[in-house]
Symmetry: C2
Amino acid sequence: MLRLPSSLQRVINEFSKLPGIGPKTAQRLAFYLLKKDNLDIVSLSNAVAELKQGVNFCSICHNMTETDPCSICNDPTRDHSLVCVVEEPLDAQALDKSGQFKGIFHVLGGVLNPLEGIGPDKLNISSLVKRTNQLASEKISEVIIATNPSLEGETTAMHLARVLKQEAPEVKVTRIARGLPSGGDLEYADDITLTRAMEGRREY
Amino acid sequence: MLRLPSSLQRVINEFSKLPGIGPKTAQRLAFYLLKKDNLDIVSLSNAVAELKQGVNFCSICHNMTETDPCSICNDPTRDHSLVCVVEEPLDAQALDKSGQFKGIFHVLGGVLNPLEGIGPDKLNISSLVKRTNQLASEKISEVIIATNPSLEGETTAMHLARVLKQEAPEVKVTRIARGLPSGGDLEYADDITLTRAMEGRREY
């Protein structure tokens, strides 16, 4: 029986652990690397090893950053009275890239998921409440909850809304609109999306 | 504008260089790693760094191996008079896994590709000719050319057949059968496959 060298097998095993990469893809990647220069291999290895160095989290919004506070919390041209709550740093990036949102962010670091043992204490919720109560130069007037429109995201949004109503009743709490995505097709939309689209209809 | 920390961006860039991994997937992988323990990250980094250590090539068949000669060339229970020529180590592994082939291998290390500057001198062809001429305990009686049924694979196979006919005329040279794959559908088969399948037909 043909056995792969153990160092090669190890790389295959490590790649297989990554999400969306099965054993076949892992094998292909490992063989690809094997054909590359040592320099390329070292470059990948070092980048991975140093991944967490230089990645900090903003003490205000918990977004990923190199500086603390992050470039957004530190930006005086943004509207600091408008806070958008997202699940992950990538969500903040997506919203920021769209160019429409000029407020600041708050990254929860996940969603409520009782099955996986993720309760409210595991998310950055208390710091959000603290932010809304803070006597900052610009007081927070609106919190937009922009968690994903998934089961967990909706549950988390509802929990957040309840907590904020209790702890900071003077702050307006809103939820991003759910409806048909731009370029979407009514015919293929699922029932929940259609229901939300009807509920959220607006007058011309 | 939100900028990702440079160490994170570096990992995304490195992952993007891998085949089949676009910028979105690279981003997803990098963020996934960021959430893992340092131990997991170091484990991946080290595995990649040490990839080439311990990967040697068999001096006889050029297959990947930890020992030289490889476990197959060293196996006295295999038929050393039957040599199967493949493009890459993975091909040898696939054939070996099928369990039907009991001979030994010869890995070319690629295919002829003039556009990419890969000529006969870049492949392990001369060592194959030498093997067929060697006065080994078990003389090679048949060489099965099992390069891929692609344009380059077929060209390489034809070149090999010609060289072997000249340099080792007493050795039988065969090509693996091309035809409809098991489980395949005649209706969806391409013309070349159908032509090959007709050409290769056998009497019951």
